[in-house]
Amino acid sequence: MPVPILRQADVLVASIQAALSDQDLVQLRDDFAEQIGRHRSLGVVIDLTALDVLDSFATRTLQSIAYAARLRGANTMVVGIQPEVAFAMVQLGLSLDGVATALDLEDGLAELAIIARRRGHRVR
């Protein structure tokens, strides 16, 4: 099931559901890269609150989403990683190096607004 992308002012928000397939993630990466240009978005938030597991493939794809978004001029914020999902990742040796994280959607949006202001944008 493709992940819907919502637009909130200058930020694109995608809320991931539990049954996220590899194909959905790859689709999300491509959709983000395209929509960042169309909406001139300054940031991207990926909300993982409902996600059951973050495995090696998902971790790698999240990193590539963040790198691709950065090349298109937008900052990425991964939010909502649940405590047991975080614990399992650490045990397995997975990391999201180079990807900014925040506790939840609210914190993530606040963080992105700070970054955008620092870059001299007037945040809506």
Partner: protein
């Protein structure tokens, strides 16, 4: 004596089947009495070995079972395929090694998070991974 009850057999043919396998594994882990953190660890381990099937063999099966031994209970997960097999298991189990440009943490990491982990493989015939997590 080890008793094994097979609870679910999941054919793995495409990436969406990985999600089904890990969800079944989580359900069984919950029924056996594992904490929500341990359920996630088991689901992650299933995700990694099921992905191995999709990446290297194309198709295979995951069997999820309840097990008992001397009064203790656990979950056994077997992933079997008839793919190309692993030529050098020791190398495949090494951290950071991958032939598929992945992170190379899948198999060694999965071994770390499960209590028991065995790989049997022969080139041209396939691979079977068997792993167990015991309830403490």
């Amino acid at each position: 004596m080890v008793i094994v009850f097979v609870e679910a057999t999941i054919p793995i043919e495409r990436d969406a089947d990985i999600v089904t396998a890990r969800q079944k594994g989580r359900e069984l882990a919950a029924a056996v009495g594992f904490s929500s953190t341990e359920q996630t660890v088991i689901a992650l381990a299933i995700s990694e070995i099921a992905r191995n099937i999709v990446t290297y063999a194309g198709r295979g099966k995951v069997f999820i079972s309840r097990t008992e031994e001397g009064g203790r209970q656990g979950v056994v997960v077997v992933a079997a395929d008839e793919g190309p097999g692993i030529a050098d298991i020791e190398l495949a189990m090494r951290d950071g090694y991958s032939t598929a440009r992945s992170l190379g943490v899948g198999l060694p990491g999965t071994r770390r998070i499960m209590d028991e982990f065995q790989v049997e493989s022969s080139v041209g015939k396939g691979t079977t991974i068997r792993m167990t997590k015991w309830l403490r």
